[in-house]
Symmetry: C2
């Protein structure tokens, strides 16, 4: 088990439009799961984007952590699991970041699902535990 | 939020060869994520299959719970998240169950990845919280 996200494991988050399953801890100790867009920065941090007020980013803020699993949509036997700690939580650049992911996932220059009054937030998770399952 | 798995949410686990992201709690309180085959029974319980001795089923046994997210591989905006409690944990029928899933996922009558001495286990999770995200 590694503690850095690099090589083919990182590629899963950046090279294809693979979706992330984000698992966070609810206040009652149970696990919440959602499926969202994902990205990684040059340092191998996992980048997520959400709107302020939603449940799962609130869980990440409260616990300081999340676990993100990303499978290769063309071969789901290849996947990576990253448990990471929250190292960035900002509105700065969050709109540009969701636009960049709209390009990756939708082929559109601008995120088309914005809602009135929505404040985007960008979260960066620094990997603590990385498990990469290579394709068989 | 429902507490039963039915209709299109259940279909995600039974009608296509969609993979499940299973999130369980490690002893240290962090979340482990793995990507595995999945199925559902007639009562809407989530069915998983593993080999005795692996980490994630041990987490399920210790905590009595897991959260399973399954996205439609043809349209990942449709997904279901199920937090369920462990209601069955058995070797009985576990080999037949993994063979049935081999048919679903590989089109083969018999699970081809068996390892020497491996003891298969079949776990059933009864849904407590079900969140279904319909395709947009």
């Amino acid at each position: 088990m590694a503690s850095t996200l690099e090589g083919p494991a990182r590629d899963l988050l950046t090279q294809n439009a693979n979706f992330a399953h984000v698992a966070t801890l609810r206040k009652d100790g149970s696990i919440q799961g959602v499926v969202v867009w994902v990205d990684a920065d040059e340092d191998g941090n996992v980048l997520l984007n959400s709107a302020d007020g939603r449940a799962w980013p609130a869980n990440v803020r409260r616990t300081g952590r999340a676990t993100v699993t990303v499978a290769n949509q063309d071969n789901p036997y290849e996947f990576v699991s990253v448990t990471g700690k929250l190292v960035q939580d900002t509105t700065e650049g969050a709109d540009e970041h969701i636009d960049a992911m709209a390009k990756k996932y939708l082929g559109q220059d601008s995120y088309p699902f914005r809602q009135d009054g929505e404040k985007r937030i960008k979260l960066a998770l620094q990997p603590e535990r990385v498990t990469y399952n290579a394709p068989g």
